[in-house]
């Protein structure tokens, strides 16, 4: 697991860790959106989670 320091040194902006936001862990904030996304996933499926795009 990368540390915040490692993440912040890359293209990612500095993300402030705020433990008060842990209250959202395991809480679905956008249930309608998730339901819709899963319904669409059921229709279209998803490729076998390809790892890489091959340039050929």
């Amino acid at each position: 697991m990368k540390t915040m320091l490692e993440i912040n040194q890359k293209k990612v902006p500095a993300v402030r860790i705020d433990p008060s936001l842990d209250k959202y862990n395991n809480v679905v904030l956008f249930p309608e959106k998730l339901t819709k996304a899963n319904e669409q996933l059921n229709k279209s499926g998803f490729p076998k989670l390809p790892k890489k795009k091959h340039n050929c």
């Binding site: 993300v15 209250k23 996933l41 998803f46």
Partner: protein
Amino acid sequence: MKLDRYQLKSGRNLTTFEFLSEGSKGKIIKLVQFQPMNLVNLYNLAFGDLDLLTGKIDDKVITDNDDSEKVLATVVAAVYAFTGQYSDAWVYATGSTVTRTRLYRMGINRYLDIVEEDFDIMGEEQSEWEWYEKGKDYQAFAVHRKNQ
């Protein structure tokens, strides 16, 4: 290229992010969440406004705070943070309306060369997935962080 964006805050597990949009309509708290879908390692990207009066979150509201580009750049930054932490994750995204999906597609097309430096990106058109190509009318997108 570095786009202007807002300061992100997150809980310790980097799945929910918060930032403060500041524009013509005042200050608005935005929440971004990566929600596990019904497939391992696939996460739905969702974001919307937190209504401080009701405590509810609305992903359909048209905020019109004159900072849409900055908001989208901040959401992209959250995608970087999330996929930096969860390197096997695919992030699924679609707009809550057809108009928003088109807005996202335009944003991806504009910055596709930059996006592809760091992400594999696929598009879904009529329930078929393929590697993303400019000019196609995708209804959803999925990105995966390339190995660093």
